[in-house]
């Protein structure tokens, strides 16, 4: 048993001295796996990583462009809004001015109308006064004559002189009134 062990130990090769086939069957796996990674796996991996990076960058770019677009739209909207507001203010201002003008015009027209009405009324009053004056004058003359007739007991109605006297008196009265009016003025 001991002798066998010694023989086995002597036959056991030194683990630090490689057998030729050991080197060969180490080189073959090494070269095969190196080629696999070098030529196949790592290029595929690189390609995928590049594609992924491109996709992410594309996504970021797309998002950025969308954001820029949205910003532009917002600006446009704001500009339109401001424009609309300005226009509305302008229209309001214009309406106010126009309203004021119309109001003033109407006021003026009303004043003119009022003046005209007043003038017409005054003219009418004047005319009526004249008419009243004329009729009063005739009536006053006949009343005075009637009164005088009553006083002296005799009709003076058909007396030409009495009529002329009354007329003259009245004319004088009128002249006096006119002159006093003038003096008052």
């Amino acid at each position: 048993m001991l002798a066998e062990l010694i023989i086995a130990a002597e036959e056991t090769p030194n683990p630090l001295l490689p057998a030729w086939y050991d080197i060969v069957y180490s080189l073959i796996p090494f070269i095969l796996v190196l080629l696999l990674f070098w030529r196949v796996v790592l290029p595929r991996m690189q390609k995928t990583l590049d594609e992924r990076a491109a996709l992410i960058e594309g996504g970021i770019e797309k998002a950025e462009s969308a954001q820029a677009e949205a910003k532009a739209a917002l600006e446009q909207y704001n500009a339109l809004l401001a424009e609309g507001r300005a226009e509305a203010a302008k229209i309001r201002e214009q309406a106010r001015t126009e309203g004021n003008a119309i109001l003033a015009e109407l006021k003026e027209a009303a004043q003119v109308e009022a003046a005209r009405v007043t003038a017409t009324a005054q003219q009418q009053i004047e005319a009526e006064r004249q008419a009243a004056l004329v009729s009063l004058r005739a009536e006053v003359g006949s009343l005075a004559l009637d009164l005088a007739s009553g006083v002296i007991g005799e009709s003076l109605a058909d007396d030409k002189r009495a009529t002329a006297l009354v007329d003259r008196f009245l004319a004088d009265l009128e002249n006096d009134t006119a002159s006093s009016k003038k003096a008052a003025k």
Partner: protein
């Protein structure tokens, strides 16, 4: 040719199937499977390569470092797959080939970018008093051109061998206590079984960690070779 060599070929087939199918129809919005594959690839790209080398240089070395990471990871993980139970990295060939690939990569990177600055930075580090170069230069030479690939190889190889040995010890001890001794020894078998299970989970951590360390160190070596000043 032995079963570990066969295992390596199976792992290569598995990597091909996973990554070929995982990246065959790449969707911009990944599904679960594609998402997992992408997460793995992105981890190497972002956390290891671009972190240290930047985007421009990182792109050149990304295939190599991705290969190293996933090969080491998958080959480590077979150590805890029931029925396989051994890492494909527990025979020296695979760690050695990967370390040599890393070695060639960082020396090539340095020599191609600035041969003289690369060698001066490596062998005559600036800021060291000139008389110390008698000591420093041989140390730096050995560290850079001998120890780096050797440590890369041995760290991975030994982690995997020791992990395998630990699990073998625990589980064969369990079998021994339970089947050969029996009786009260079964209690001891429970302990070894518990430890074996715990170390199985620990091996998952080690597998991922070693893949990360191997890829990270390769990247760091390339970064140091490309650096203008130390």
């Amino acid at each position: 040719m032995n079963r570990i060599m066969l295992l390596r070929l199976v792992i290569v087939a598995l990597i091909f199937i996973l990554f070929w199918l995982g990246t065959r129809k790449m969707q911009l919005v990944p599904g679960r499977f594609q998402g997992t594959i992408e997460m793995g690839l992105e981890f190497v790209r972002k956390s290891i390569v671009e972190d240290l080398l930047g985007q421009k240089d990182g792109k050149r070395f990304l295939p190599l470092i991705t290969t190293i990471f996933f090969l080491v990871l998958f080959m480590n993980l077979t150590g805890i797959v029931p029925g396989i139970n051994i890492s494909a990295n527990s025979v020296i060939g695979m760690p050695l080939v990967l370390a040599v690939a890393a070695y060639i990569a960082f020396i090539w990177a340095g020599l191609r970018k600035h041969p003289w600055a690369f060698l001066r930075n490596a062998l005559f580090p600036p800021g060291v008093p000139p008389f110390l170069y008698i000591i420093v230069t041989p140390i730096e030479f050995v560290s850079m051109f001998v120890l780096r690939p050797v440590t890369l190889t041995l760290r991975l190889l030994m982690n995997m061998i020791v992990g395998h040995l630990l699990l073998v010890l625990f589980f064969s001890a369990t079998a021994f206590f339970m089947v050969e001794l029996g009786g009260w020894w079964i209690a001891a078998s429970a302990v070894t079984l518990a430890f074996g299970t715990a170390f199985t989970f620990f091996e998952i951590l080690v597998s991922v960690l070693q893949a990360y360390v191997f890829a990270l160190l390769t990247t760091v070596y390339i970064q140091l070779a490309l650096a203008d000043e130390h």
